[in-house]
Symmetry: C2
Amino acid sequence: MAYVIAISNEKGGVAKTTTTYSLGASLAESGKKILLIDLDPQGNLTLANGIEPGKAVKTSHDVLLNGLSITEAIAKTSTPGLEIVPASPTLIEAEQNLPLRSNYAFTLNNALRQGALVHEYVLLDCPPSMGALTYNALTAAELLIIPTQAEYFSAYALRDMMTLIRRVRRDSNPRLAYRILITLLDQRNRTHKVIREQLEQTFGSGLFQTVIEIDTRLRESPIIGLPITQYRPTSRGSQQYRVLAQELIEYVQQQ
Amino acid sequence: MAYVIAISNEKGGVAKTTTTYSLGASLAESGKKILLIDLDPQGNLTLANGIEPGKAVKTSHDVLLNGLSITEAIAKTSTPGLEIVPASPTLIEAEQNLPLRSNYAFTLNNALRQGALVHEYVLLDCPPSMGALTYNALTAAELLIIPTQAEYFSAYALRDMMTLIRRVRRDSNPRLAYRILITLLDQRNRTHKVIREQLEQTFGSGLFQTVIEIDTRLRESPIIGLPITQYRPTSRGSQQYRVLAQELIEYVQQQ
Ligand SMILES: Nc1ncnc2c1ncn2[C@@H]1O[C@H](COP(=O)(O)OP(=O)(O)OP(=O)(O)O)[C@@H](O)[C@H]1O
Ligand SMILES: Nc1ncnc2c1ncn2[C@@H]1O[C@H](COP(=O)(O)OP(=O)(O)OP(=O)(O)O)[C@@H](O)[C@H]1O
Ligand SMILES: [Mg+2]
Ligand SMILES: [Mg+2]
């Protein structure tokens, strides 16, 4: 049974997509079979894999709204051990239409449970909102990873995310755990230092010990259509996401 | 009649809120009466003005869903000449419920036309999505400012924004114009240089000449609850947003 991880934060631009891709590729590199699912109408995860979101034939939209099985929607990527269910811009309709169905929150969870997936981990990239797509991801997940910048608006968004977690645990997924990941960190920046300390005090073990620092190589890799671990294997970004992958594997083993 | 500007981009974290606040404060500083309207359920613009989004009594949610007049929802800010209609987290319901009403796209436009507003400019901060709230903002606006980073995912999002503009012009607001604003620029970064040049070639005069560079003072000012022009009046952020305000005033005069 695959271990399902949602990567979500209402706050925009905190490296949700970059984390889904880089963490997924690092897990695949360590020999695990990984499935990425792009739930964002922007389709950045799909694009980063060199697939044009508007042109993908079978997508997460078909899985959520048209009953397509997950296994039929899976596409290959250039990375061994890493597969993807691409997004399409029409996913925006799912935000509107899913809530009109009874028990809509379980749509993705049911699709994942029905398919005889061979993957050890499934990673769900979410849009920057708390609508039906994100709600579906949190209902299907064992773990929610919340990428956050050490900045004021991002730190404030964690309050809303905690409220959402409580709601999901009460209504649809009592087992949902979370871990916060500090991303885009500039070690020399005073605001980043101060807010990181505040997050460590407030959340303690709710934070990953691994921190992802700013590394311009991470901006470059989606242009080439490769994950950071293949584009610049010795970069700081690659190393830090590999350390994160190890920390995650240890966390999962302890559960 | 107030000149209405929407600040929107589906891409998250591109400085929509920071631009709305800093540009609004720069326009107020030059003597104009400015109204900010926070249309994002995150309420970052509200928060940056020192108002707790969950505690604001009259909000943009009441204007859009409960027929409250704009003038009744206006709150003062600490900046002379700058007022705000705050957001509340319940705005998320507007994303779901507005589209169920006939002609929902004109809700904000009608509210703005009914109120005898004394403001010269109205600035609308939008959430990172292309749902009902953003659609309402684009229907009400004369000008759409699209903040964008000089990075791959942000540049790609412009494609979706252009499609959205064509749709709004066809269905609800033929007069909608747009201008792209490059934000968070690091002049020393190679990706930023290359993508900025590509944007200049692709969009030409569709880009503001003013560019906003990275300035950590802009991260600090929302913590204090003041706009950059009051928090650090001589900072690079303040100067660049003042130049932007002048470029905007000239643009509006030429229309
Ligand atoms: N560690 C890093 N160092 C430098 N740039 C980064 C890093 N992580 C992400 N980026 C860049 O920052 C921008 C935002 O990251 P990304 O798009 O992954 O965030 P997101 O949370 O998925 O955004 P959205 O809310 O729009 O979905 C992207 O241009 C990305 O390439
Ligand atoms: N020029 C700048 N220099 C440094 N930091 C900046 C600059 N502009 C914005 N920021 C910071 O970058 C982050 C993103 O900016 P902001 O929240 O305004 O973007 P947004 O597009 O409104 O995000 P969202 O999509 O979540 O609404 C914030 O933490 C903000 O303080
Ligand atoms: Mg993303
Ligand atoms: Mg914002």
